[in-house]
C-alpha cells in the first residue's frame, strides 16, 4: 500500500565528471527533478567508499542512487569498474540481512545526458515511494 504522505529522502551520489555534469546539462535544459533528491558530489564513483552509502542508509536515507561515467569513459580510467564491484558486493550484503539491496541503484549518466539524470531521479523516487520507508530508521542501530 502506498502511503501518500511518505516523502522519501534520497541520497544521490554523482561523480564530478559525468553525474554532476548530467545535473548541469539538466539545468541548462531547465529540467526539474524531485526535491527528495540530495545530490552529493564525489570525485569519482570509485572514490565512494561503501561505508558512505551504508552510513546514509543507517542514518535513515530511504534510498541511495549512484551515477557516474559510463563504463570505459571514467576520467580516471577504471574508477567506475571498481565502483561496480563494490556496489555489487554491498547489494549482496544488504540482501543477506533483508535490508534490501534494491534501495541502492547504480545507473550510468554521461555529462550530456541531462534528461536521463532527471528521469532517473523521478523513477527512483517513485520506486522508493512504492517500497516505503527505510526499515533502518530506528534508534537501536
Amino acid at each position: 500500500m502506498q502511503d501518500d504522505s511518505f516523502e522519501p529522502k534520497i541520497f544521490y551520489a554523482l561523480c564530478a565528471w559525468c553525474g554532476s555534469g548530467g545535473t548541469e546539462t539538466a539545468g541548462a535544459f531547465r529540467l526539474k527533478y524531485p526535491e527528495n533528491i540530495r545530490p552529493f558530489r564525489v570525485n569519482c564513483t570509485g572514490a565512494l567508499d561503501p561505508v558512505y552509502i551504508l552510513r546514509a542508509l543507517v542514518e535513515g536515507a530511504d534510498g541511495v542512487c549512484i551515477s557516474g561515467c559510463h563504463p570505459g569513459d571514467c576520467h580516471y580510467d577504471i574508477g567506475n569498474f571498481r565502483a561496480r564491484r563494490r556496489i555489487a558486493i554491498m547489494k549482496e550484503i544488504l540482501n543477506v540481512f533483508g535490508i534490501d539491496g534494491d534501495r541502492v541503484w547504480l545507473r550510468w549518466v554521461a555529462h550530456g545526458e541531462g534528461k536521463k539524470l532527471a528521469d532517473t531521479a523521478y523513477e527512483f523516487t517513485e520506486f522508493i515511494k512504492k517500497k516505503g520507508p527505510n526499515p533502518l530508521k530506528r534508534w537501536d542501530t
Binding site: 564491484r85 558486493i89 549482496e92 533502518l136 537501536d140
Partner: protein
C-alpha cells in the same frame, strides 16, 4: 607418486620429529610452532631453533588464541627474512596468510609452511572452563579426528586439509602420518636432507566421510543461521549485545587496513550532530554506529574472510560475529567465484572486468515524457 616422509608415531610426535629433521638443513633459521605456556595455561606461537623448544611444543593445539597469519604478518610486514623459517599453520591460518601475501602484508617466500588435516579447535571460553578435561581427552579425539564442541565454524569448514602448504601432513583416517612435499621448494629441501621417499598419499575416498559430514553441517548452517538474521529486526537483535569493543576487528587476520575507518575522525562528529541524529531516528543508541561498523567491515573484507572464527572467539558478549561474516562472505564471494587463500588471483576488489555485473546496474529503457 609424490615425495615425502612417513612416520608411524602419533601425529604430534611425528610433527616434532619432522621439525627436528628440517632443522638439520642449515639454511633454515628457525621454526614457528604453537606451544603451551604452562603457567598461563594457554597456547601461543614460539619462534625457536632449539631442539628443546621443539620437543616441548604442541604442533596441533586444541585452541587457536592467535591466528597464525597475524604472526607471519608481524614477522615480515617490513620485509623478507634472510633465510626461511618453518611455520606450522592450520589450513585457515595458511589461507589467511596467502590473502595477506597478495597485498604485501606477509612475505610468504620467507616461510616454509607445514599444514595438516585440521579437526577444528575448541572455543577459548570452553577451554578456560574445562581446561583439564579438554587436555585429557584431546589426544584421543585428535587421533579419531572427532573433536566435540568445536568452534561453530570449524564444524562446517570444508577446506580442512593442508594441500596448499609446502608440506602437507595427512593423518585423518590413516594408520600412519604422511608428510608430503607439495612444492618445488619443499621437494628440494627433502632431497637435500636425503630422506625423501615416495609416499602413496591418501585418496579423497579416505576422508570422504569427514567431508560429507562437514558439507551437511555447512548447508545446515547457511540455511538455519541465514534464516535467523534475514530481516533488519533479526539482525539488530543479534547485534544488540555488541558492546563496541572492536575485539573482532583486532583479532581478524584479514582486516588489512593499517588505519581503520571506524577509528578515524570521520566518525567523531560535533556534538550537535548527535542531537540531530537522535531527533531524526527517534533516539540514538550509545555507543552509536554498531550496525555501521559490522556492515562496513563486511564490505571491506568479507571477500577475504577465511571463516576461521577468531572474531567469534574474541567476542566477550557472545555475538555470533564469525557466523555472520562467514554467511555474508559465502554470498559475496560467489559473485566472483573467489575462494580466499585458494584462488591465486588477487582479491576481486583489486581487479575488474570491463564487461560484467550488468545485473547490478539498473537499466534505462524509456525516457519520461
Amino acid at each position: 607418486m609424490p615425495l615425502g616422509l612417513v612416520y608411524k608415531d602419533d601425529v604430534q610426535v611425528a610433527l616434532k620429529g619432522f621439525l627436528v629433521e628440517l632443522m638439520r638443513d642449515k639454511r633454515i633459521q628457525g621454526v614457528l610452532v604453537p606451544s603451551r605456556m604452562e603457567k598461563e595455561g594457554t597456547y601461543t606461537y614460539i619462534l625457536t631453533k632449539e631442539r628443546e623448544g621443539i620437543e616441548k611444543s604442541t604442533p596441533i593445539a586444541p585452541i587457536m588464541p592467535i591466528q597464525g597469519a597475524r604472526v607471519l604478518s608481524k614477522l615480515t610486514i617490513k620485509g623478507a627474512l634472510s633465510r626461511p623459517v618453518v611455520a606450522i599453520l592450520r589450513p585457515c591460518e595458511l589461507r589467511a596468510a596467502k590473502e595477506l601475501a597478495k597485498i604485501n602484508q606477509v612475505h610468504l617466500e620467507s616461510f616454509l609452511t607445514v599444514s595438516f588435516d585440521c579437526p577444528g579447535v575448541y572455543p577459548l571460553k570452553n577451554y578456560r572452563d574445562e581446561m583439564e578435561e579438554i587436555e585429557k581427552r584431546f589426544p584421543e579425539e585428535l587421533k579419531s579426528f572427532s573433536l566435540k564442541n568445536t568452534r561453530p565454524l570449524c564444524k562446517s569448514c570444508i577446506y580442512f586439509t593442508g594441500d596448499i602448504a609446502d608440506f602437507e601432513v595427512q593423518f585423518a583416517n590413516q594408520k600412519e602420518v604422511m608428510i608430503i612435499a607439495r612444492t618445488e621448494k619443499a621437494i628440494s629441501i627433502l632431497k637435500e636432507l636425503g630422506k625423501a621417499q615416495e609416499v602413496r598419499g591418501r585418496s579423497e575416498e579416505d576422508i570422504s566421510n569427514i567431508m560429507e559430514n562437514r558439507k551437511v553441517n555447512k548447508d545446515n548452517f547457511l540455511k538455519t543461521f541465514g534464516s535467523q538474521v534475514d530481516t533488519p529486526d533479526k539482525i539488530l537483535k543479534v547485534l544488540s549485545s555488541c558492546i563496541n569493543c572492536r575485539n573482532c576487528r583486532s583479532v581478524c587476520p584479514v582486516c588489512y587496513c593499517r588505519e581503520c575507518f571506524f577509528d578515524s575522525d570521520a566518525l567523531k562528529t560535533s556534538p550537535h550532530l548527535y542531537i540531530e541524529r537522535a531527533e531524526r531516528k527517534g533516539g540514538l543508541r550509545f555507543l552509536p554506529d554498531t550496525l555501521l561498523f559490522h556492515l562496513g567491515r563486511m564490505n571491506h573484507m568479507s571477500l577475504s574472510c577465511v571463516s576461521c572464527g577468531m572474531c567469534e572467539d574474541a567476542c566477550p558478549n557472545m555475538v555470533p560475529v564469525g557466523r555472520l561474516f562467514s554467511l555474508v562472505s559465502e554470498r559475496t564471494r560467489s559473485i566472483f567465484g573467489y575462494v580466499p587463500g585458494i584462488s591465486v588471483e588477487p582479491s576481486p576488489l583489486l581487479e575488474y572486468k570491463t564487461e560484467e555485473l550488468k545485473e547490478y546496474e539498473v537499466p534505462y529503457h524509456t525516457a519520461r515524457d
